[in-house]
Protein backbone atom coordinates (compact mmCIF):
# COMPACT_ATOMS: atom_id res chain seq x y z
CA UNK A 1 0.00 0.00 0.00
CA UNK A 2 1.35 3.40 -0.94
CA UNK A 3 1.95 6.05 1.70
CA UNK A 4 -0.80 8.21 0.23
CA UNK A 5 -3.26 5.36 0.58
CA UNK A 6 -2.16 4.71 4.15
CA UNK A 7 -2.81 8.37 4.83
CA UNK A 8 -6.27 8.21 3.29
CA UNK A 9 -7.35 4.96 4.93
CA UNK A 10 -5.91 5.44 8.41
CA UNK A 11 -4.81 8.97 9.11
CA UNK A 12 -7.92 10.79 7.88
CA UNK A 13 -10.33 8.61 9.91
CA UNK A 14 -8.09 9.14 12.93
CA UNK A 15 -8.24 12.89 12.39
CA UNK A 16 -12.00 12.63 12.06
CA UNK A 17 -12.29 10.70 15.32
CA UNK A 18 -10.04 13.20 17.04
CA UNK A 19 -12.08 16.10 15.67
CA UNK A 20 -15.36 14.59 16.89
CA UNK A 21 -13.82 13.83 20.26
CA UNK A 22 -12.62 17.43 20.57
CA UNK A 23 -16.02 18.74 19.51
CA UNK A 24 -17.83 16.46 21.97
CA UNK A 25 -15.40 17.45 24.68
CA UNK A 26 -15.91 21.15 23.94
CA UNK A 27 -19.69 20.82 23.95
CA UNK A 28 -19.52 18.73 27.11
CA UNK A 29 -17.47 21.39 28.84
CA UNK A 30 -19.85 24.13 27.75
CA UNK A 31 -22.77 22.07 29.05
CA UNK A 32 -20.94 21.39 32.30
CA UNK A 33 -20.26 25.10 32.71
CA UNK A 34 -23.88 25.96 32.04
CA UNK A 35 -25.15 23.34 34.49
CA UNK A 36 -22.63 24.33 37.14
CA UNK A 37 -23.54 27.97 36.81
CA UNK A 38 -27.18 27.08 37.20
CA UNK A 39 -26.34 24.97 40.23
CA UNK A 40 -24.29 27.76 41.78
CA UNK A 41 -27.05 30.23 41.00
CA UNK A 42 -29.53 27.99 42.82
CA UNK A 43 -27.11 27.53 45.70
CA UNK A 44 -26.52 31.26 45.95
CA UNK A 45 -30.25 31.91 45.84
CA UNK A 46 -30.74 29.40 48.64
CA UNK A 47 -27.86 30.87 50.67
CA UNK A 48 -29.13 34.40 50.07
CA UNK A 49 -32.60 33.28 51.14
CA UNK A 50 -31.27 31.85 54.39
CA UNK A 51 -29.15 34.92 54.99
CA UNK A 52 -32.06 37.24 54.30
CA UNK A 53 -34.21 35.37 56.78
CA UNK A 54 -31.40 35.49 59.34
CA UNK A 55 -30.83 39.20 58.76
CA UNK A 56 -34.54 39.85 59.10
CA UNK A 57 -34.59 37.94 62.36
CA UNK A 58 -31.57 39.85 63.71
CA UNK A 59 -33.15 43.14 62.69
CA UNK A 60 -36.21 42.12 64.66
CA UNK A 61 -33.93 41.59 67.62
CA UNK A 62 -32.61 45.10 67.14
CA UNK A 63 -29.01 44.19 66.38
CA UNK A 64 -26.76 46.70 64.66
CA UNK A 65 -25.91 46.14 60.97
CA UNK A 66 -22.26 45.47 61.85
CA UNK A 67 -23.30 42.98 64.47
CA UNK A 68 -25.61 41.26 62.03
CA UNK A 69 -22.90 40.82 59.40
CA UNK A 70 -20.48 39.64 62.09
CA UNK A 71 -22.98 36.96 63.04
CA UNK A 72 -23.83 35.71 59.58
CA UNK A 73 -20.42 35.63 57.95
CA UNK A 74 -18.65 32.36 58.24
CA UNK A 75 -18.95 30.76 54.82
CA UNK A 76 -15.56 30.74 53.14
CA UNK A 77 -17.18 31.00 49.71
CA UNK A 78 -18.72 34.39 50.49
CA UNK A 79 -16.25 36.99 49.25
CA UNK A 80 -18.23 40.03 50.30
CA UNK A 81 -21.57 40.95 51.80
CA UNK A 82 -23.25 44.29 52.42
CA UNK A 83 -26.42 45.39 54.12
CA UNK A 84 -28.13 48.33 52.43
CA UNK A 85 -31.01 50.49 53.52
CA UNK A 86 -34.11 51.33 51.50
CA UNK A 87 -32.21 54.04 49.60
CA UNK A 88 -29.43 51.59 48.89
CA UNK A 89 -26.94 53.25 51.19
CA UNK A 90 -24.45 50.76 52.52
CA UNK A 91 -25.10 50.34 56.23
CA UNK A 92 -22.44 47.71 56.82
CA UNK A 93 -20.22 45.59 54.66
CA UNK A 94 -17.69 42.89 54.93
CA UNK A 95 -15.13 41.71 52.39
CA UNK A 96 -12.38 39.21 52.17
CA UNK A 97 -10.27 41.82 50.37
CA UNK A 98 -9.44 45.28 51.71
CA UNK A 99 -12.08 47.79 50.64
CA UNK A 100 -13.39 45.52 47.89
CA UNK A 101 -17.14 45.79 47.50
CA UNK A 102 -17.82 45.87 43.76
CA UNK A 103 -21.28 47.33 43.80
CA UNK A 104 -22.53 50.19 41.75
CA UNK A 105 -25.47 51.62 43.56
CA UNK A 106 -26.33 53.63 40.49
CA UNK A 107 -26.77 50.49 38.44
CA UNK A 108 -27.91 48.06 41.11
CA UNK A 109 -31.43 46.70 40.66
CA UNK A 110 -33.48 44.49 42.93
CA UNK A 111 -33.07 40.75 42.51
CA UNK A 112 -30.32 41.32 39.99
CA UNK A 113 -27.52 38.84 39.81
CA UNK A 114 -24.35 38.74 37.77
CA UNK A 115 -20.84 37.38 37.49
CA UNK A 116 -17.90 39.60 38.38
CA UNK A 117 -14.54 38.66 36.97
CA UNK A 118 -11.98 39.45 39.64
CA UNK A 119 -8.30 38.54 40.01
CA UNK A 120 -9.42 36.18 42.77
CA UNK A 121 -11.64 34.33 40.32
CA UNK A 122 -15.24 34.62 39.22
CA UNK A 123 -17.69 35.99 41.77
CA UNK A 124 -21.42 35.48 41.55
CA UNK A 125 -23.16 38.57 42.94
CA UNK A 126 -26.77 39.19 43.85
CA UNK A 127 -28.69 42.12 45.25
CA UNK A 128 -31.94 41.07 46.92
CA UNK A 129 -34.49 42.70 49.17
CA UNK A 130 -34.83 41.50 52.77
CA UNK A 131 -38.45 40.75 53.54
CA UNK A 132 -39.70 42.69 56.56
CA UNK A 133 -43.10 42.53 58.22
CA UNK A 134 -43.31 46.31 58.60
CA UNK A 135 -42.62 49.03 56.06
CA UNK A 136 -38.86 48.85 56.61
CA UNK A 137 -36.84 47.87 53.59
CA UNK A 138 -33.34 46.48 53.47
CA UNK A 139 -31.17 44.95 50.80
CA UNK A 140 -28.53 42.27 51.02
CA UNK A 141 -25.67 42.33 48.55
CA UNK A 142 -23.80 39.08 48.35
CA UNK A 143 -20.69 37.97 46.45
CA UNK A 144 -20.24 34.23 46.20
CA UNK A 145 -17.00 32.62 45.03
CA UNK A 146 -17.27 30.39 41.98
CA UNK A 147 -13.96 28.72 42.69
CA UNK A 148 -15.65 25.31 43.01
CA UNK A 149 -17.18 25.70 39.58
CA UNK A 150 -13.95 26.98 38.10
CA UNK A 151 -12.02 24.12 39.64
CA UNK A 152 -14.53 21.64 38.23
CA UNK A 153 -14.33 23.21 34.78
CA UNK A 154 -10.55 23.37 34.98
CA UNK A 155 -10.48 19.71 36.01
CA UNK A 156 -12.77 18.84 33.12
CA UNK A 157 -10.55 20.83 30.74
CA UNK A 158 -7.42 19.17 32.11
CA UNK A 159 -8.99 15.73 31.76
CA UNK A 160 -10.08 16.54 28.26
CA UNK A 161 -6.62 17.82 27.34
CA UNK A 162 -5.02 14.77 28.91
CA UNK A 163 -7.32 12.46 26.96
CA UNK A 164 -6.64 14.41 23.77
CA UNK A 165 -2.93 14.14 24.44
CA UNK A 166 -3.23 10.42 25.07
CA UNK A 167 -5.25 9.94 21.89
CA UNK A 168 -2.70 11.95 19.93
CA UNK A 169 0.16 10.00 21.49
CA UNK A 170 -1.52 6.68 20.83
CA UNK A 171 -2.26 7.83 17.28
CA UNK A 172 1.30 8.97 16.77
CA UNK A 173 2.65 5.67 18.08
CA UNK A 174 0.19 3.71 15.98
CA UNK A 175 1.05 5.61 12.81
CA UNK A 176 4.74 5.44 13.54
CA UNK A 177 4.42 1.67 13.85
CA UNK A 178 2.24 1.54 10.76
CA UNK A 179 4.70 3.56 8.72
CA UNK A 180 7.59 1.45 9.96
CA UNK A 181 5.68 -1.69 9.06
CA UNK A 182 4.83 -0.28 5.70
CA UNK A 183 8.42 0.84 5.09
CA UNK A 184 9.62 -2.64 6.03
CA UNK A 185 7.03 -4.18 3.74
CA UNK A 186 8.08 -1.88 0.90
CA UNK A 187 11.76 -2.71 1.48
CA UNK A 188 10.95 -6.43 1.47
CA UNK A 189 8.89 -6.00 -1.70
CA UNK A 190 11.75 -4.20 -3.38
CA UNK A 191 14.13 -6.89 -2.19
CA UNK A 192 11.84 -9.63 -3.48
CA UNK A 193 11.48 -7.84 -6.80
CA UNK A 194 15.26 -7.47 -7.11
CA UNK A 195 15.67 -11.13 -6.24
CA UNK A 196 13.06 -12.10 -8.81
CA UNK A 197 14.79 -10.05 -11.50
CA UNK A 198 18.13 -11.53 -10.46
CA UNK A 199 16.74 -15.05 -10.74
CA UNK A 200 15.22 -14.20 -14.09
CA UNK A 201 18.52 -12.88 -15.30
CA UNK A 202 20.30 -15.90 -13.89
CA UNK A 203 17.88 -18.24 -15.66
CA UNK A 204 18.53 -16.45 -18.92
CA UNK A 205 22.29 -16.61 -18.39
CA UNK A 206 21.96 -20.24 -17.38
CA UNK A 207 20.05 -21.11 -20.55
CA UNK A 208 22.43 -19.13 -22.67
CA UNK A 209 25.53 -20.67 -21.00
CA UNK A 210 24.14 -24.20 -21.28
CA UNK A 211 23.48 -23.63 -24.97
CA UNK A 212 26.96 -22.26 -25.55
CA UNK A 213 28.53 -25.09 -23.52
CA UNK A 214 26.61 -27.66 -25.51
CA UNK A 215 27.61 -26.08 -28.80
CA UNK A 216 31.29 -25.89 -27.79
CA UNK A 217 31.49 -29.33 -26.26
CA UNK A 218 30.40 -31.14 -29.41
CA UNK A 219 33.30 -29.88 -31.54
CA UNK A 220 35.60 -30.31 -28.51
CA UNK A 221 34.67 -33.98 -28.30
CA UNK A 222 35.37 -34.35 -32.00
CA UNK A 223 38.67 -32.54 -31.51
CA UNK A 224 39.58 -34.84 -28.62
CA UNK A 225 38.81 -37.94 -30.74
CA UNK A 226 40.85 -36.46 -33.56
CA UNK A 227 43.80 -36.01 -31.18
CA UNK A 228 43.38 -39.65 -30.09
CA UNK A 229 43.48 -40.83 -33.71
CA UNK A 230 46.42 -38.62 -34.57
CA UNK A 231 48.33 -39.85 -31.50
CA UNK A 232 47.91 -43.41 -32.68
CA UNK A 233 49.20 -42.63 -36.18
CA UNK A 234 51.94 -40.16 -35.33
CA UNK A 235 55.58 -41.17 -34.83
CA UNK A 236 56.73 -41.01 -31.19
CA UNK A 237 59.00 -37.95 -31.72
CA UNK A 238 56.01 -35.84 -32.76
CA UNK A 239 53.63 -37.05 -30.08
CA UNK A 240 54.66 -34.43 -27.47
CA UNK A 241 52.89 -31.56 -29.24
CA UNK A 242 49.77 -33.63 -29.84
CA UNK A 243 49.69 -34.73 -26.15
CA UNK A 244 49.83 -31.08 -25.13
CA UNK A 245 47.01 -30.23 -27.52
CA UNK A 246 44.91 -33.07 -26.14
CA UNK A 247 45.48 -31.87 -22.53
CA UNK A 248 44.48 -28.32 -23.50
CA UNK A 249 41.29 -29.57 -25.12
CA UNK A 250 40.49 -31.56 -21.96
CA UNK A 251 41.17 -28.47 -19.84
CA UNK A 252 38.75 -26.46 -21.97
CA UNK A 253 36.13 -29.20 -21.59
CA UNK A 254 36.63 -29.28 -17.81
CA UNK A 255 36.25 -25.51 -17.54
CA UNK A 256 33.07 -25.65 -19.60
CA UNK A 257 31.75 -28.43 -17.36
CA UNK A 258 32.40 -26.33 -14.30
CA UNK A 259 30.68 -23.30 -15.76
CA UNK A 260 27.75 -25.44 -16.82
CA UNK A 261 27.38 -26.99 -13.40
CA UNK A 262 27.59 -23.56 -11.80
CA UNK A 263 24.63 -22.18 -13.67
CA UNK A 264 22.49 -25.30 -13.49
CA UNK A 265 20.01 -25.52 -10.63
CA UNK A 266 21.10 -27.84 -7.82
CA UNK A 267 19.13 -31.08 -7.71
CA UNK A 268 19.58 -32.97 -4.48
CA UNK A 269 19.57 -36.75 -4.18
CA UNK A 270 18.74 -36.84 -0.49
CA UNK A 271 19.72 -39.43 2.08
CA UNK A 272 20.87 -39.57 5.69
CA UNK A 273 24.63 -39.67 6.16
CA UNK A 274 27.33 -38.86 8.69
CA UNK A 275 29.24 -35.62 8.74
CA UNK A 276 32.43 -37.59 9.16
CA UNK A 277 31.84 -39.37 5.85
CA UNK A 278 31.31 -36.12 3.96
CA UNK A 279 34.50 -34.62 5.35
CA UNK A 280 36.50 -37.80 4.60
CA UNK A 281 35.12 -37.91 1.05
CA UNK A 282 36.12 -34.29 0.46
CA UNK A 283 39.56 -34.95 1.94
CA UNK A 284 39.98 -38.03 -0.29
CA UNK A 285 39.05 -36.04 -3.41
CA UNK A 286 41.49 -33.34 -2.39
CA UNK A 287 44.24 -35.95 -1.93
CA UNK A 288 43.49 -37.33 -5.40
CA UNK A 289 43.68 -33.89 -6.99
CA UNK A 290 46.54 -32.47 -4.95
CA UNK A 291 48.39 -35.05 -2.80
CA UNK A 292 50.88 -32.47 -1.44
CA UNK A 293 48.16 -30.14 -0.24
CA UNK A 294 46.24 -32.91 1.51
CA UNK A 295 49.20 -33.46 3.86
CA UNK A 296 48.47 -30.04 5.39
CA UNK A 297 44.87 -30.88 6.12
CA UNK A 298 43.88 -31.24 9.77
CA UNK A 299 40.46 -32.81 10.42
CA UNK A 300 38.58 -32.56 13.70
CA UNK A 301 35.01 -33.79 13.45
CA UNK A 302 32.61 -34.92 16.09
CA UNK A 303 31.71 -38.55 15.43
CA UNK A 304 28.14 -39.68 14.94
CA UNK A 305 26.76 -36.35 13.69
CA UNK A 306 24.09 -37.07 11.13
CA UNK A 307 23.03 -34.96 8.20
CA UNK A 308 20.26 -35.10 5.68
CA UNK A 309 20.77 -34.15 2.05
CA UNK A 310 23.01 -34.93 -0.88
CA UNK A 311 26.32 -36.14 0.62
CA UNK A 312 28.18 -36.02 -2.67
CA UNK A 313 27.18 -32.45 -3.40
CA UNK A 314 28.05 -31.41 0.14
CA UNK A 315 31.47 -33.05 -0.18
CA UNK A 316 31.85 -31.14 -3.48
CA UNK A 317 31.05 -27.88 -1.66
CA UNK A 318 33.49 -28.76 1.10
CA UNK A 319 36.15 -29.70 -1.44
CA UNK A 320 35.80 -26.31 -3.06
CA UNK A 321 36.33 -24.62 0.31
CA UNK A 322 39.34 -26.84 1.03
CA UNK A 323 40.91 -26.10 -2.33
CA UNK A 324 40.33 -22.43 -1.80
CA UNK A 325 41.96 -22.60 1.65
CA UNK A 326 44.89 -24.66 0.34
CA UNK A 327 45.52 -22.15 -2.42
CA UNK A 328 45.34 -19.28 0.07
CA UNK A 329 47.90 -20.84 2.44
CA UNK A 330 50.78 -22.38 0.55
CA UNK A 331 52.58 -24.12 3.44
CA UNK A 332 50.53 -23.74 6.63
CA UNK A 333 47.91 -26.25 7.81
CA UNK A 334 44.23 -26.02 6.90
CA UNK A 335 41.73 -27.03 9.55
CA UNK A 336 38.35 -28.66 9.06
CA UNK A 337 36.18 -28.84 12.12
CA UNK A 338 32.70 -30.31 12.29
CA UNK A 339 30.33 -30.55 15.23
CA UNK A 340 26.72 -30.44 16.26
CA UNK A 341 25.48 -27.11 17.61
CA UNK A 342 22.03 -27.71 19.15
CA UNK A 343 19.82 -28.67 16.18
CA UNK A 344 22.30 -27.46 13.59
CA UNK A 345 25.53 -28.85 12.26
CA UNK A 346 28.50 -26.59 11.94
CA UNK A 347 31.49 -27.06 9.63
CA UNK A 348 34.43 -24.68 9.73
CA UNK A 349 37.27 -24.51 7.23
CA UNK A 350 40.10 -22.36 8.54
CA UNK A 351 43.41 -21.40 6.98
CA UNK A 352 46.36 -19.33 8.14
CA UNK A 353 46.92 -17.56 4.85
CA UNK A 354 47.17 -13.83 4.18
CA UNK A 355 43.42 -13.34 4.58
CA UNK A 356 40.89 -11.72 2.28
CA UNK A 357 40.61 -7.95 1.90
CA UNK A 358 37.42 -6.63 3.59
CA UNK A 359 35.91 -5.41 0.31
CA UNK A 360 36.40 -8.90 -1.20
CA UNK A 361 34.87 -10.81 1.78
CA UNK A 362 31.40 -9.56 0.89
CA UNK A 363 31.76 -10.70 -2.70
CA UNK A 364 33.50 -14.07 -2.45
CA UNK A 365 30.28 -15.99 -3.07
CA UNK A 366 29.34 -14.00 -6.17
CA UNK A 367 29.61 -15.94 -9.44
CA UNK A 368 32.78 -15.36 -11.47
CA UNK A 369 34.28 -13.18 -8.72
CA UNK A 370 37.88 -14.10 -7.97
CA UNK A 371 41.01 -12.46 -6.66
CA UNK A 372 43.29 -15.21 -8.02
CA UNK A 373 45.17 -14.94 -11.28
CA UNK A 374 43.99 -18.34 -12.53
CA UNK A 375 40.69 -18.53 -10.64
CA UNK A 376 37.31 -18.85 -12.34
CA UNK A 377 35.14 -17.51 -9.50
CA UNK A 378 33.03 -20.66 -9.60
CA UNK A 379 34.17 -22.74 -6.59
CA UNK A 380 32.85 -20.66 -3.71
CA UNK A 381 29.76 -19.68 -5.67
CA UNK A 382 28.97 -23.35 -6.22
CA UNK A 383 29.67 -24.18 -2.57
CA UNK A 384 27.23 -21.47 -1.48
CA UNK A 385 24.62 -22.70 -3.94
CA UNK A 386 24.87 -26.29 -2.66
CA UNK A 387 24.69 -25.22 1.01
CA UNK A 388 21.68 -22.99 0.33
CA UNK A 389 19.97 -25.87 -1.49
CA UNK A 390 20.34 -27.84 1.76
CA UNK A 391 18.65 -25.05 3.77
CA UNK A 392 21.94 -23.98 5.28
CA UNK A 393 24.05 -20.87 5.35
CA UNK A 394 27.65 -20.17 4.61
CA UNK A 395 29.67 -17.18 5.70
CA UNK A 396 33.24 -15.98 5.35
CA UNK A 397 35.26 -14.22 8.00
CA UNK A 398 38.71 -12.94 7.44
CA UNK A 399 41.31 -10.59 8.77
CA UNK A 400 44.16 -9.58 6.58
CA UNK A 401 47.35 -11.27 7.74
CA UNK A 402 45.51 -13.64 10.09
CA UNK A 403 43.87 -16.09 7.72
CA UNK A 404 40.27 -16.82 6.83
CA UNK A 405 37.45 -18.95 8.12
CA UNK A 406 34.45 -20.29 6.22
CA UNK A 407 31.57 -21.44 8.35
CA UNK A 408 28.83 -23.70 7.04
CA UNK A 409 25.71 -24.22 9.09
CA UNK A 410 23.31 -26.98 8.09
CA UNK A 411 20.14 -28.38 9.62
CA UNK A 412 20.89 -31.60 11.50
CA UNK A 413 19.09 -34.86 10.70
Amino acid sequence: MKRRNVFLFFFLPFLGVFFFFSLASFLGQADLKRRTEALVRDQLAATAGILRATVSHFLDEGRSPDGILDSILSDKDIYFVALLDADKNVLAWNSRYEGYLPISLREARDEESGIIDSPAGKIFSELSAVARPNEERYYLYLGYALTGMEEMIALSRRTSLLLSGLILLAGALFFRGLFQLQSRYMAKSREAETERLEKERFREISAFTSGVAHEIKNPLNSLSLLFELLLKKTPPEAKGGLELGKVQVQTIARIIDRFSSAVKPVRLVSSIFFLDDVVRLAAGNLAAEDPEASTRLRIETEPGVRLSGDGELLSQALLNLLKNAMEASSSTPVWVEGRRNKKRVEIRVRDEGPGIPPEAVARVFEPFYTTKDKGTGIGLFLANKIVEAHGGTIEARSREGEGSEFRIELPGA
Partner: protein, 144 residues
Protein backbone atom coordinates in the same frame (compact mmCIF):
# COMPACT_ATOMS: atom_id res chain seq x y z
CA UNK B 1 16.34 61.60 51.14
CA UNK B 2 15.76 65.22 52.15
CA UNK B 3 15.53 66.37 55.77
CA UNK B 4 11.87 67.20 55.20
CA UNK B 5 11.13 63.67 54.07
CA UNK B 6 12.91 62.21 57.09
CA UNK B 7 10.89 64.39 59.41
CA UNK B 8 7.66 63.41 57.66
CA UNK B 9 8.50 59.74 58.01
CA UNK B 10 9.24 60.18 61.70
CA UNK B 11 5.92 61.96 62.17
CA UNK B 12 4.23 59.19 60.25
CA UNK B 13 5.49 56.58 62.69
CA UNK B 14 4.26 58.67 65.62
CA UNK B 15 0.87 59.17 64.03
CA UNK B 16 0.57 55.46 63.26
CA UNK B 17 0.27 54.60 66.93
CA UNK B 18 -2.48 57.12 67.49
CA UNK B 19 -4.31 56.14 64.32
CA UNK B 20 -4.50 52.48 65.28
CA UNK B 21 -7.61 53.18 67.25
CA UNK B 22 -9.42 54.88 64.39
CA UNK B 23 -12.28 52.94 62.90
CA UNK B 24 -11.52 51.96 59.30
CA UNK B 25 -14.28 51.20 56.99
CA UNK B 26 -14.51 52.85 53.59
CA UNK B 27 -14.99 50.57 50.71
CA UNK B 28 -14.05 51.30 47.15
CA UNK B 29 -17.24 52.79 45.78
CA UNK B 30 -17.15 52.57 42.00
CA UNK B 31 -19.80 55.28 41.76
CA UNK B 32 -17.62 57.87 43.43
CA UNK B 33 -14.40 57.90 41.48
CA UNK B 34 -12.48 61.20 41.53
CA UNK B 35 -9.15 62.56 40.33
CA UNK B 36 -7.02 64.93 42.31
CA UNK B 37 -3.56 66.33 41.89
CA UNK B 38 -1.36 68.13 44.35
CA UNK B 39 1.56 68.06 46.75
CA UNK B 40 1.97 65.57 49.57
CA UNK B 41 1.54 67.34 52.86
CA UNK B 42 1.63 64.44 55.25
CA UNK B 43 2.70 60.82 55.26
CA UNK B 44 0.82 58.53 57.58
CA UNK B 45 1.09 54.83 58.35
CA UNK B 46 -2.03 53.51 60.00
CA UNK B 47 -4.11 50.36 60.16
CA UNK B 48 -7.11 50.69 57.86
CA UNK B 49 -8.69 47.27 57.92
CA UNK B 50 -8.81 44.89 60.82
CA UNK B 51 -5.96 42.44 60.91
CA UNK B 52 -3.90 43.96 58.10
CA UNK B 53 -0.47 45.56 57.97
CA UNK B 54 -0.36 49.35 58.32
CA UNK B 55 -1.46 51.25 55.26
CA UNK B 56 0.36 54.12 53.65
CA UNK B 57 -1.94 57.13 53.74
CA UNK B 58 -0.90 60.40 52.13
CA UNK B 59 -2.25 63.80 53.13
CA UNK B 60 -2.62 65.49 49.73
CA UNK B 61 -3.70 69.02 49.04
CA UNK B 62 -5.72 69.26 45.83
CA UNK B 63 -4.19 72.00 43.70
CA UNK B 64 -7.51 72.83 42.04
CA UNK B 65 -9.67 73.22 45.14
CA UNK B 66 -7.00 73.67 47.85
CA UNK B 67 -8.93 71.02 49.75
CA UNK B 68 -7.13 68.44 51.85
CA UNK B 69 -7.66 64.70 51.29
CA UNK B 70 -6.33 61.60 52.94
CA UNK B 71 -5.31 59.22 50.18
CA UNK B 72 -5.28 55.56 51.18
CA UNK B 73 -2.55 54.05 49.01
CA UNK B 74 -1.86 50.43 49.95
CA UNK B 75 -0.16 48.38 52.65
CA UNK B 76 3.21 50.00 53.24
CA UNK B 77 5.09 46.87 52.16
CA UNK B 78 3.36 46.90 48.77
CA UNK B 79 4.21 50.46 47.86
CA UNK B 80 7.97 50.10 47.75
CA UNK B 81 8.83 53.65 46.76
CA UNK B 82 10.43 56.58 48.53
CA UNK B 83 8.04 59.46 48.84
CA UNK B 84 8.83 62.87 50.20
CA UNK B 85 6.77 65.71 51.57
CA UNK B 86 6.07 68.32 48.94
CA UNK B 87 6.24 65.89 46.01
CA UNK B 88 3.38 66.20 43.58
CA UNK B 89 1.11 63.24 43.03
CA UNK B 90 -1.88 62.51 40.82
CA UNK B 91 -4.51 60.22 42.26
CA UNK B 92 -7.46 58.35 40.79
CA UNK B 93 -9.65 56.75 43.41
CA UNK B 94 -12.95 56.43 45.19
CA UNK B 95 -14.01 59.32 47.43
CA UNK B 96 -15.53 58.77 50.82
CA UNK B 97 -16.78 61.79 52.74
CA UNK B 98 -18.10 62.08 56.28
CA UNK B 99 -19.21 65.37 57.80
CA UNK B 100 -16.73 65.53 60.66
CA UNK B 101 -13.51 64.23 59.20
CA UNK B 102 -11.04 64.78 56.35
CA UNK B 103 -12.41 63.23 53.15
CA UNK B 104 -10.67 60.03 52.18
CA UNK B 105 -9.80 58.75 48.75
CA UNK B 106 -9.07 55.05 48.27
CA UNK B 107 -6.47 55.24 45.50
CA UNK B 108 -6.73 53.06 42.42
CA UNK B 109 -3.87 54.69 40.56
CA UNK B 110 -1.14 56.90 41.87
CA UNK B 111 1.20 58.87 39.66
CA UNK B 112 4.48 59.86 41.25
CA UNK B 113 7.51 61.33 39.52
CA UNK B 114 5.97 60.47 36.14
CA UNK B 115 5.45 56.82 37.05
CA UNK B 116 1.96 55.37 37.46
CA UNK B 117 1.34 52.77 40.14
CA UNK B 118 -1.69 50.52 39.75
CA UNK B 119 -3.00 49.80 43.22
CA UNK B 120 -6.42 48.33 42.51
CA UNK B 121 -8.41 47.21 39.48
CA UNK B 122 -11.33 49.25 38.17
CA UNK B 123 -13.73 47.60 40.64
CA UNK B 124 -11.40 48.20 43.56
CA UNK B 125 -9.84 44.76 43.88
CA UNK B 126 -6.50 45.27 45.66
CA UNK B 127 -3.50 44.38 43.54
CA UNK B 128 -1.50 43.20 46.52
CA UNK B 129 -3.85 40.26 46.90
CA UNK B 130 -3.10 37.03 45.15
CA UNK B 131 -5.14 35.27 42.47
CA UNK B 132 -7.66 32.48 42.84
CA UNK B 133 -5.13 30.13 44.46
CA UNK B 134 -4.73 32.35 47.46
CA UNK B 135 -7.58 31.61 49.82
CA UNK B 136 -8.04 33.81 52.80
CA UNK B 137 -10.51 34.02 55.59
CA UNK B 138 -12.86 36.96 55.98
CA UNK B 139 -11.28 39.31 58.43
CA UNK B 140 -11.72 42.85 57.16
CA UNK B 141 -14.87 44.76 57.67
CA UNK B 142 -16.10 48.22 58.28
CA UNK B 143 -19.15 50.44 58.18
CA UNK B 144 -19.84 53.57 56.28
Amino acid sequence: MSNKAVVLRFLAVLVAGAAAAQPGGQFYNVDKEVRIEGPVREIILEPRYKGTAPFLVLGVEDSASAKRYNVEVSPSWFFGQDIHGGEKVKVVGSLSETPRSVPTIIARELQLRGETFKLRDKRGFPNWQGGPQRKRGIRRFGSS
